[in-house]
């Protein structure tokens, strides 16, 4: 690559072409989920603030969060918060207390375990949120024996 390549281009092609495998995917996903949660958080702080500044607007904001596309987004958001947290914990604990474990082989396994834990923590929440979405937005009750609430 030319030495004068722009940092933007170097970074962007680096994202796509760096061959670190598991560690690299974990880094990308950590970055993506962190930025995604931050974007949500900025909007969330502002829409929650309407309860004080413009209480009439809050209902509109919440109505949006109840729509099917947003509820699907929220299911993704829950995964992002969980994965970023589990993976962030792996990074923090390794960095602060056991830096020797930053060997590639050790981390390959750690990354797989991180992903497995995240999916396990997320799955029950995702199923419950899907149940609620179908019930409230589409009138489909997947668990009729529980009754509606």
């Amino acid at each position: 690559m030319a030495s004068s390549a722009s940092p933007l281009k170097t970074t962007a092609t680096g994202y796509a072409t760096y061959q670190g495998r598991e560690g690299h995917y974990a880094f990308l996903l950590h970055r993506l989920t962190g930025l995604g949660v931050l974007l949500f958080l900025i909007i969330h702080i502002l829409d929650t603030s309407t309860v004080y500044f413009y209480p009439e607007l809050y209902e509109h904001a919440i109505a949006l969060y109840r729509s099917t596309p947003f509820m699907l987004g929220e299911i993704g958001l829950v995964f992002a918060v969980i994965y970023h947290g589990v993976n962030g914990l792996r990074i923090a604990v390794t960095d602060l207390w056991m830096p020797k474990r930053w060997a590639i082989q050790t981390q390959r396994n750690a990354v797989r375990i991180t992903l497995a834990i995240s999916v396990l923590l997320w799955a029950p929440a995702a199923l419950w949120m899907t149940y609620n979405m179908l019930l409230h937005n589409h009138g489909i009750n997947l668990l009729p024996f529980i009754g509606t609430h």
Partner: protein, 120 residues
Amino acid sequence: MKPRFEAIAWRAMRYSGILLIPLAWFHVYLQDVIVGVHAIDINYVAVRLANTGWVVYNFLLLAFAFAHGMYGLRQVSFDFVRSERGRRNVSILLLVLWLVISLIGAIALIGGARPELITH
């Protein structure tokens, strides 16, 4: 930026992250999974923000999650912006955004929800 600041921030990212696991996870599980958006309205928020314990909780969440996220965004942006000047500008921009949005959030938490102002 001074190396000392970056070293402290590096540690702060890790410790705040560990703290955010109980703080952010409990908040999201409670509001989005257990209560759910169909049960949340301004009256629900009014009751919660009348409780000092939850106001303090939300305050900690606001302070730690948002500072952690904005500092993280600064790190990401530094991978794209390499010049000293550019990094300074990005830092100032993010600092101002962080202060303004934090202030708005903090005022709302202290002021509480005011459903009585809805006219229709």
